[in-house]
């Protein structure tokens, strides 16, 4: 996960440690079935790990470079490779 996030998706690196901690925590909350504010059907225990969900769940972490698209992609990729 760390390797994937560091590979190419960050710019200055200032926010990187916080983004990684949040991503790890967020993925584990997702895996435990916790819904988010953008989950469409609250009653459905099956959640989809979409870009929308990642954006909402990571929304407290600011990146001054604005590398959000890359961060979202990195988390999606990390989840697919190692998170499932």
């Amino acid at each position: 996960m760390l390797r994937l996030l560091l590979r190419r998706y960050f710019q200055c690196g200032y926010c990187t440690p916080g983004q990684i901690c949040s991503a790890v925590g967020m993925i584990s909350e997702f895996q435990s079935g916790l819904p988010s504010a953008v989950t469409e059907d609250m009653s459905d225990p099956q959640l989809e790990f979409s870009a929308e969900e990642i954006k909402e769940r990571m929304s407290g972490n600011l990146c001054r470079c604005g590398a959000y698209v890359g961060i979202t992609e990195a988390i999606q990729q990390a989840y697919e490779e190692v998170g499932k």
Partner: protein, 122 residues
């Protein structure tokens, strides 16, 4: 920030005894509201009574069809509870639209209902 004493209650009766000993004592739950206001010198309790170990963190279905939510249930736990998600989805949604994940993991239902106005400009 004022000096204050800290004690932890092991059962509800002990919590009531501790809080009644001091007119300026406050219960401490998740601390997401009270501790911030203490740092800003708005709340100045002499004593904090930590109630987070009390057995009040349950969510149970009642025979009459209602649901009883313990005062110490964390916001994220309440929002993620399957019974609440199925029967009271608006409650889950409302909680998940408030604060951040980190705060929701700490904030309690009781503290949420009893909290002082969050913005200290007021």
């Amino acid at each position: 920030m004022n000096n204050f004493s800290y004690s932890r209650a092991d059962d509800p009766q002990a919590a009531l005894n501790l809080i009644s000993q001091n007119a300026h004592a406050k219960f401490l739950g998740g601390g997401t509201n009270l501790v911030d206001l203490m740092r800003e010198d708005i709340e100045r309790p002499d004593a904090l009574v930590d109630i987070t170990r009390l057995p009040l963190a349950g969510i149970e279905e009642l025979p009459d069809g209602g649901v009883r939510i313990g005062a110490l249930v964390r916001n994220s736990h309440l929002a993620g509870n399957q019974l609440v998600r199925e029967r009271y989805p608006v409650l889950s949604q409302a909680i998940l639209m408030g604060a951040s994940a980190q705060l929701r993991n700490m904030a309690t239902t009781g503290g949420n209902l009893l909290q002082r106005t969050r913005c200290y400009y007021f």
